[in-house]
């Protein structure tokens, strides 16, 4: 079933080309994009199924054997992340049908969205360090294009910051890769595992690993390196920012997890300790940032940063349960973040503003929709039995298991503080009466806006909510996936065998 790996990559790539060449209307291009994303979800589902049944699979591109050619590999972590990315792709491309204007569509929105998806899927599936860099570039270039698309002043201003800091991070990554090649003479991630562990000068290896930590840390928006994110994300159209918020930073987290379990296997605890402290600081800084803002988009942008901390905790603590908790948190965090940003888009449409002081009375005008927001917010906060609860339960369980009391303290504090900004959105935008001076304007826009909130926007929101509800009510499958991923990530023997092992991957047919 190795073709599934290639199929997952080719689908968004070909969709992008098709959406570019199709000179049809906005709807046709959008439909191509939605179709491609649905097809990708099907392939990703099959991939996860295959990995679930038969364990990790790999494919050597061009028939060059492992350390020399480029390897594609899917273990549980990659497969489930590809599936989640594809689902977000479907939701966003449907939402974009009504959200993205004709000018942006003519500028190639659908094409760039699919190229972004290609880059994300490629980064999840590759088993080669230089190839990872190339996928990061694919992602980066398409995100640059999306971020300046139809750009007004504020958007361009945010774009300059986003582009500048990401280019610096890219250069650091490239330097680190060059130095790694100089140290080990190989760039295959499985091959690097033993090559770097046997390197006589471990100090050099540590220095290079720090370069990777900084480069991926900027991409993942961790504590001292996150300032580009709140400066740029809030200026974008909602379907673009939903895609970015859900997936871009998580690719950085994924790369960190891969790098620091597979390539650099630190015998000292120093790197793990640094990552742990960074994770906790990221958590707290993100939440405090969210509390300090009064604009829905900015509040949610800071929430992205806060949740990155939870996702890095597993890497810092290093136990299987902690890693499983982080992976579970990442999977449901991607979905809930996409959901919240799409909901924020609908709030903006209804209230004609994303400024809390100018919003209000949404519960009165749209009680059903308000319940959707409440559901998403409670899922993020982690109220049982919603998905975030299981994630936080696992994180706390991992902390208790290791008796890391101060970690538990910070996690509980950050979780409690998460409550404040999300409930403030609830009280300000939904619960309080529409503001006086905006009253007539708001009332007028509600009348106008409620007609523009179509099923194309509510549909993906409802679908994502349903998926999250399912995860919350029946978490055992996803917990099992997270457990298996954590086991594979922490014990890399299976990974090494699939990539380097002399045993060819058995070509088992797919069970119906």
């Amino acid at each position: 079933m190795n073709w599934l790996l290639v199929a997952c990559l080719l689908t968004p790539m070909l969709t992008a080309i098709l959406a570019f060449l199709w000179s049809g209307s906005r709807t046709v291009k959008g439909a191509v994009s939605v179709g491609g994303a649905v097809l990708l979800s099907i392939f990703a589902g099959l991939l996860l199924w295959e990995v679930w049944i038969n364990g990790p699979i790999s494919a050597q591109m061009g028939g060059w054997e492992a350390p020399f050619g480029i390897t594609l590999i899917a273990d549980h972590l990659s497969a489930v992340l590809v599936l989640v990315a594809a689902l977000v792709g479907v939701a966003v491309s449907i939402y974009a049908l009504s959200d993205i204007d004709d000018e942006r569509a003519k500028g190639g929105f659908d094409t760039f969205l699919q190229i972004l998806l290609t880059g994300i899927v490629g980064a999840f599936l590759t088993g080669d360090l230089f190839n990872l860099y190339v996928w990061f570039e694919v992602m980066l270039i398409s995100s640059f294009a999306l971020i300046v698309l139809g750009g007004d002043k504020v958007q361009l201003d945010g774009a300059v910051k986003y582009v500048a800091i990401n280019l610096v991070s890219t250069v650091i990554l490239l330097t680190a890769i060059g130095l790694t090649y100089g140290l080990a003479g190989t760039l295959n991630m499985a091959d690097l595992n033993s090559a770097l562990a046997q390197h006589p000068e471990q100090e050099l290896v540590t220095v290079v690993s720090m370069l990777f930590l900084i480069a991926f840390g900027i991409k993942a928006a961790v504590f001292p390196l996150y300032f580009w994110l709140p400066a740029s994300y809030h200026t974008l159209p909602i379907s673009i920012v939903a895609m970015f918020a859900a997936l871009m930073t998580k690719v950085g987290v994924y790369a960190l997890i891969r790098t620091f379990t597979l390539i650099f296997t630190p015998d000292g605890d120093l790197i793990a300790y640094i990552i742990l402290v960074v994770a906790l600081l990221t958590m707290v800084a993100g939440i405090i940032g969210a509390i300090s803002h009064t604009n829905i988009r900015r509040i949610l942008s800071y929430h992205i940063i806060g949740s990155i901390g939870f996702m890095l905790l597993g890497l810092g603590l290093g136990s299987p349960l902690a890693m499983a908790a982080s992976i579970f948190y990442m999977i449901q965090g991607i979905l809930v973040k996409a959901l919240l940003f799409l909901i924020a888009g609908i709030i903006e449409r209804r209230g004609n503003s994303s400024e809390l002081s100018e919003l209000g009375g949404l519960y009165r005008s749209a009680p059903g929709f308000s319940m959707l927001y409440l559901f998403a917010a409670l899922a993020l906060i982690g109220i049982p039995p919603l998905s975030g609860f299981w994630a936080k339960l696992m994180v706390l369980g991992a902390g208790l298991e290791l008796q890391a009391w101060w970690v538990i303290g910070v996690v509980v504090l950050a979780s409690l503080l998460t409550f404040i900004p999300l409930m403030r959105i609830w009280f300000e935008a939904f619960w309080k009466a529409a503001p006086e001076d905006h009253h007539s304007k708001a009332a007028a826009t509600v009348l106008k806006a409620s007609s523009t909130v179509s099923m194309l926007q509510l549909g993906p929101v409802l679908a994502l909510s349903a998926v999250l509800l399912l995860i919350g009510l029946a978490p055992s499958f996803l917990i099992e996936v997270a457990d298996r991923s954590a086991a594979e990530v922490l014990n890399v023997d299976a990974y090494l065998e699939v990539v380097l092992g002399t045993v060819a991957t058995p070509d088992v047919e797919l069970k119906p």
């Binding site: 504020v154 201003d157 300059v160 280019l167 890219t170 490239l174 060059g178 130095l179 400066a231 803002h293």
Partner: protein, 149 residues
Amino acid sequence: MEVLFGVLAGVLMAGGVWLILSRNLLRFLFGLVLISNVANLIIFASGGVTEGSPPLISKAGLLENAANSLPQALVLTAIVIGFGLVSFTLTLALRAWQSIGTTDVEKMCLSEQRSGASDEQGGVLSCEEFTRIERQVIADNHPTEEIAR
């Protein structure tokens, strides 16, 4: 030969970082071009720099001292990608200059303007006003230090 490359990379990196720390967007970009070339140099040198022997395999096997062709392939990829990124960024800088009217990154704070900041009348502060007030506060708190403009 590798040592020479190392020194060159160090010098270029120092120059690049110095330019990047500048407040002018264009100088920042030149700095970026420099350090991305440093990355290319490092990749190139990491394969070992050899003189005049092609990376070819004869019937007798690999030539002695043959050049390692992999870093050359990698660096070629990196140069192409880097070129694309730099030309994109230059265009972006041009557009930003045309629409915002400055390349001083300190004055480019449209997107970072805090939504909560408002003047006494409750109106939202403009970018320049916000910077001015912030500087005034800093100057008031540190009366002896001269604030660099």
